[in-house]
C-alpha cells in the first residue's frame, strides 16, 4: 500500500507533500522531479543514482544549508528544499549551453586557454568561478543548525563501523564475549545496510542459505534488545591517530576504540557509456531501494543491464514489487540463462544475452537505450555490475608513509611525542572484497579480534 503523503515541504518554492520517512530524493522522485542537480561545468542534469550518498549526484540546499545529500536526508515537515545550480532554474538551465559546446571545451581546457592573455584568463576564471560556485553560502540559521552543540568522548573496547548485517553480527558477537567488552556500532542511516535491497542470499551462522532481509530483521531485533551495544547514529569520519570522529549532526562523537571492526560494505560501480550520468540511470541497489521504500513505480519502463546472474535477480525482484521491467540486457554470451540465474520463465520480461549498453538518449532523462542488438524505449536503466569494497578506513589504518609498502597496523601517529599505537582491526563482510556473505566467518573473525588482537590487514586483502 502506498504510504500516506502527509509531510508538507517546499521544493523551489512549490508546496508538495511526501511520505513520512522518505528522503528528499525519494520525495522529489515521487513528484516526477528527476533532475536533482546539475554538473558543475557543463550543467548536465543529474539525478538519483546510488541511493547511499556516495556518488555526489544529489546535493541540494535544505533550509539554507547547501550541499545536503538528498538521498540520505529524511524529509521533515516544513523543510525548504532548493536545488542548487541552474539559470534561471535547475529544470530549465540555459548554462547547459556549455554542454552543447563541450567539443570546444574539453576537460582541462582552461589550462590552455588564454595562456598568453592574462586579462582574458582572469575574466574567464571569474566566470568559471561564478558558474561553479553557484551554491549560496549557508544562511545564518543554517550555520547555527550546522554548528555542533555538544561533543561526546567515548572510549570503547570494540568499535564497529557500519550497521549492516556484517556490522551487526560482529557487534553482537563481541558483546556476547565472556570478557564483556564494551561495544559501540556506528551507522549513518540505520536501515540495515543493503540487506533489504540485496538479492543474493546470505549464509547464516550455521551455514544455511537465507534471505538477507530475514537475517537483517533477526540481527536488528537482537540489537534492539541488547543493552550491551551502544548504537551511534552518524558518519564515521576516519581513523585519525587512533581517534574516530563521528559526525552525528548536532552531536560530535570522539571515539577512541581499543579495536575496530570495519564493516563498511561495498559500492556498486557504474558502466561506461555515453550519457551514463543521465537521470534515470540508477545503480541496482538504489533502484530496489527506491522501489521498496516508495512503494510506487520508479519509472514507466525499466531495463536492467548486467553481466551476471544478479541482474536477473534484480529484475525479478523489481517485477515482484510491481515495477514494469521490460528487458534484461546481459552482456554475457548466449547460454542457458534460466539455469544460470534461477529466474522463472514466467518472469515476463525480455532477456537479451550478449547485449552491451552502447548509450542512452534523452535530453533531461533517459528515453531510449541503445544496445548492441538494437534499441529499447525506457526511462530507467538499472545497472547491476561489479562491486568494489568500501576500503577507506582500511587505507586509513594502513597508510603510514607516502609510497610506503609497509602495511602494518600502526595508527602511524603523526605526533612526534606519541608512541605509535597498534590498533587491532578486522575487516568483515563485503568490505573484504568477497561477495559471498558468511556469518560464521564474521563470528570467527570477531573472536580472533578479541582473543588475538585481529589480523594483519595485508593477509585478509
Amino acid at each position: 500500500m502506498t504510504p500516506a503523503r502527509n509531510v508538507a515541504f517546499t521544493l523551489d518554492g512549490r508546496s508538495l507533500r511526501a511520505a513520512a520517512g522518505a528522503t528528499v530524493a525519494e520525495a522529489m522522485h515521487s513528484h516526477g522531479v528527476w533532475t536533482v542537480s546539475r554538473s558543475v561545468k557543463y550543467h548536465r542534469p543529474r539525478g538519483y543514482t546510488c541511493g547511499v550518498g556516495a556518488c555526489g549526484n544529489c546535493p541540494v540546499t535544505v533550509n539554507g544549508l547547501p550541499g545536503v545529500t538528498a538521498c540520505t536526508r529524511p524529509i521533515k515537515p516544513g523543510d525548504e528544499v532548493r536545488r542548487e545550480l541552474g539559470l534561471p532554474t535547475t529544470t530549465f538551465d540555459l548554462l547547459r549551453t556549455a554542454d552543447l559546446l563541450r567539443k570546444w571545451l574539453p576537460a582541462g581546457f582552461q589550462f590552455r586557454l588564454f595562456a598568453k592573455r592574462p586579462v582574458l584568463s582572469r575574466i574567464s576564471g571569474r566566470m568559471l568561478a561564478i558558474l561553479a560556485g553557484g551554491g549560496r553560502f549557508p544562511t545564518d540559521a543554517a550555520m547555527r543548525e550546522a554548528t555542533v552543540a555538544s561533543v561526546r568522548e567515548l572510549t570503547v573496547d570494540v568499535l564497529v563501523i557500519g550497521g549492516g548485517i556484517s556490522g551487526m553480527r560482529a557487534a553482537l558477537t563481541a558483546a556476547e564475549h565472556p570478557d564483556s567488552p564494551t561495544v559501540a556500532i556506528v551507522d549513518e542511516l540505520w536501515e540495515g545496510g543493503r540487506a533489504r535491497w540485496r538479492t543474493e542470499a546470505v549464509r547464516d551462522e550455521t551455514g544455511r542459505s537465507v534471505p538477507s532481509a530475514d537475517v537483517e530483521a533477526r540481527l536488528r531485533s537482537a540489537l534492539d534488545t541488547s543493552s550491551a551495544v551502544l548504537r551511534i547514529p552518524g558518519i564515521a569520519l576516519g581513523l585519525l591517530d587512533g581517534l574516530v570522529p563521528v559526525d552525528g549532526g548536532r552531536v560530535r562523537w570522539e571515539i577512541r576504540p581499543r579495536s575496530t571492526v570495519l564493516a563498511t560494505g561495498s559500492y556498486e560501480t557504474t558502466l561506461l557509456f555515453p550519457n551514463n550520468d543521465r537521470p534515470g540511470v540508477i545503480l541496482a541497489d538504489a533502484a530496489v531501494k527506491l522501489a521498496v521504500r516508495t512503494d510506487a513505480p520508479i519509472g514507466r519502463r525499466i531495463v536492467v543491464a548486467t553481466d551476471s546472474a544478479r541482474g536477473h535477480q534484480v529484475a525479478e525482484r523489481l517485477r515482484s514489487l510491481g515495477q514494469n521491467v521490460v528487458a534484461v540486457l546481459d552482456s554475457r554470451p548466449v547460454r542457458d540463462v534460466r539455469a544460470d540465474t534461477g529466474t522463472s520463465p514466467a518472469a515476463g520480461f525480455r532477456i537479451e544475452m550478449g547485449s552491451t549498453v552502447l548509450g542512452v538518449a534523452g535530453w533531461s532523462k533517459v528515453r531510449r537505450i541503445r544496445h548492441s542488438s538494437g534499441t529499447v524505449a525506457a526511462d530507467v536503466l538499472c545497472l547491476a555490475f561489479a562491486r568494489r569494497p568500501a576500503e577507506e578506513f582500511a587505507l586509513h589504518a594502513n597508510y603510514l608513509e607516502h609510497g610506503s609498502t609497509d602495511l602494518g597496523t600502526d595508527t602511524g601517529s603523526a605526533r612526534q611525542d606519541a608512541t605509535p599505537v597498534r590498533m587491532p582491526t578486522i575487516v568483515v563482510g563485503s568490505a573484504t572484497g568477497h561477495s559471498q556473505l558468511d556469518l560464521d566467518d564474521i563470528v570467527d573473525a570477531t573472536h580472533r579480534l578479541l582473543q588475538q588482537g585481529g589480523d594483519d590487514l595485508t593477509r585478509t586483502r
Binding site: G67, L113, F114, R122, G135, R415
Partner: protein, 394 residues
C-alpha cells in the same frame, strides 16, 4: 606515465643530475636546458610533484620584511607575471593580489615598517588601513581586520599546472625525467660527487649533483656526507566544497598563523600551523590540525560555518631554523648544489631556477642568492624575517 617521464634513465652518465622532480628541480632543469645545458637528468623516488609541490598553498608574493627575502621573491614575482606565456602553458596564475593581514596595532605597525622598506627598495606594495582592508576582504570578520600589506600583482597559481608546465618544457628541451627511482647512495671522493646509486641497483655518473629533494633533502644530504641543519616538518591543509566567490586576493594572517585563498572553482583552500614543529613524516591528516584549521578559518571568515570539507592532507617540507631556504654549493663537495629547506618553495621556484642555473653554469653567486647560503646555516647567521605565517624557532 606522464608524457616526458620515463621509468629508467636512458644514459649511464649525465652532466647534471637533479634529485627531486618537484617544482624546484623541474624549474632548475628547465632553466638549465633553456640556457643550452645538455645531458640533464631529473630523478625522483616517486612521481613528479608528489611532494610539497603537489600539496602547497599556491600563494605568491614578495612583500616580506627582510631585504633578503624581498629581493629574492620579487625576482620570482616578476617572473610569475609572464611565466604562463613563456612556458606556453596556462599556469592559472591568478593576479588577484595578496594581502598580509594585520589583526592588531602591533602587527599593523610592523607591516608599516615593511612597507617603508619596500618603498625605499622600489618593491611594489600598498599599506591598507582598517577601512581599506575591510573593503578588500568584505567576508572577513571585522574584528580581525586592522589593516593589511597588499600587493595587487601577487596572487596564486595552480600547483599541478606549474609542475606540469615546467616538466613539459624541460622534457621538450631534452631533459630526461625519471620517476619511481629512489636514490639510495651517493658516491663521492676527494671532495667531489661522482655518481648516484638508485634503488634498482643502477649507478648514474654525474658531473654536478643537485639536491632538490624537498622533505627528503636532509636524507639526501646525509648520503652525500653533507651535514646542514635541516629538519623535516609536517604541514596540513584543507579544501572545502565550492561556494560562490567571496575572497579575491590570497591572504596570510599573522594572527592565525594561517594562509588561504579561494580557487577559480570556488573552493576555499588553506592551512594553519601550530606553534610546535611536527617532525614526523606521515602524510595523513591529523584531528588536531583539522580542528585548528576549521576553527581558525571560520573565525576569519564566519560565512564558512556549515560549508563542507572536501579534502584534508599533509605534506612534508624540510626547514632551517630561520625558515629561509639553503641555496648553493657546500664546502665539502665542489660539485654538489643544495636547493632545500624550502617552506615558501612554490612561489620561489622561478627565481631559484634562474639563479641556481646561473650559479651552476657560471659559478657566479647572484647577490640575491648569496644570503641563502649553506654557510649562513653553519655559522648560525640567521636571516630575521618577520612576515612569515610559520613560527621560526630562533
Amino acid at each position: 606515465m606522464l608524457p616526458g617521464v620515463r621509468t629508467e634513465a636512458p644514459n649511464s652518465g649525465y652532466a647534471v643530475v637533479i634529485i627531486g622532480a618537484g617544482v624546484q628541480g623541474l624549474a632548475l632543469a628547465y632553466e638549465l636546458a633553456k640556457r643550452g645545458q645538455r645531458d640533464v637528468l631529473v630523478v625522483d623516488g616517486s612521481w613528479p610533484g608528489s611532494g610539497a609541490s603537489g600539496r602547497n598553498g599556491e600563494l605568491i608574493r614578495s612583500a616580506f620584511s627582510s631585504s633578503e627575502w624581498s629581493d629574492f621573491f620579487d625576482l620570482s614575482l616578476d617572473r610569475w607575471q609572464t611565466l604562463s606565456a613563456e612556458l606556453d602553458s596556462n599556469l592559472l596564475f591568478n593576479r588577484d593580489g595578496y594581502a598580509v593581514l594585520a589583526s592588531t596595532d602591533a602587527q599593523l605597525h610592523s607591516l608599516d615598517v615593511d612597507h617603508r622598506a619596500h618603498r625605499v627598495r622600489g618593491l611594489r606594495s600598498e599599506l591598507l588601513d582598517e577601512s581599506e582592508a575591510r573593503k578588500l576582504l568584505p567576508a572577513a570578520a571585522p574584528a580581525l581586520v586592522r589593516g593589511a600589506l597588499y600587493q595587487p600583482h601577487g596572487g596564486y597559481a595552480h600547483h599541478d599546472s606549474v609542475v606540469a608546465g615546467y616538466l613539459e618544457n624541460a622534457a621538450r628541451l631534452g631533459v630526461h625525467i625519471v620517476a619511481g627511482a629512489r636514490v639510495v647512495g651517493i658516491n663521492h671522493a676527494a671532495g667531489r660527487v661522482t655518481a648516484v646509486r638508485l634503488a634498482d641497483g643502477s649507478t648514474i655518473a654525474c658531473e654536478t649533483l643537485v639536491n632538490a629533494a624537498g622533505g627528503e633533502a636532509p636524507a639526501i644530504n646525509e648520503l652525500a656526507g653533507v651535514s646542514i641543519e635541516l629538519i623535516q616538518a609536517r604541514l596540513e591543509m584543507i579544501v572545502t566544497q565550492p561556494t560562490r566567490p567571496f575572497l579575491r586576493p590570497g591572504v596570510a594572517s599573522l594572527e592565525l598563523l594561517g594562509y588561504c585563498h579561494q580557487t577559480m572553482r570556488g573552493e576555499f583552500v588553506g592551512g594553519t600551523e601550530l606553534a610546535t614543529v611536527d617532525a614526523t613524516s606521515s602524510l595523513s591528516g591529523t584531528w588536531e590540525l583539522l580542528r585548528d584549521m576549521a576553527t581558525k578559518f571560520v573565525r576569519l571568515f564566519p560565512a564558512l560555518a556549515g560549508v563542507r570539507l572536501l579534502r584534508h592532507w599533509a605534506g612534508t617540507v624540510s626547514q632551517t631554523r630561520d625558515l629561509a631556504p639553503v641555496l648553493g654549493h657546500v664546502e665539502e663537495l665542489d660539485n654538489f648544489i643544495v636547493s632545500a629547506g624550502w617552506v615558501y618553495g612554490f612561489m620561489g621556484a622561478p627565481a631559484a631556477g634562474e639563479l641556481l642555473a646561473e650559479l651552476l653554469l657560471t659559478r657566479r653567486v647572484d647577490p640575491r642568492l648569496a644570503p641563502f647560503s649553506a654557510a649562513r646555516v653553519r655559522q648560525q647567521d640567521w636571516i630575521r624575517e618577520g612576515s612569515l605565517v610559520v613560527e621560526a624557532s630562533l
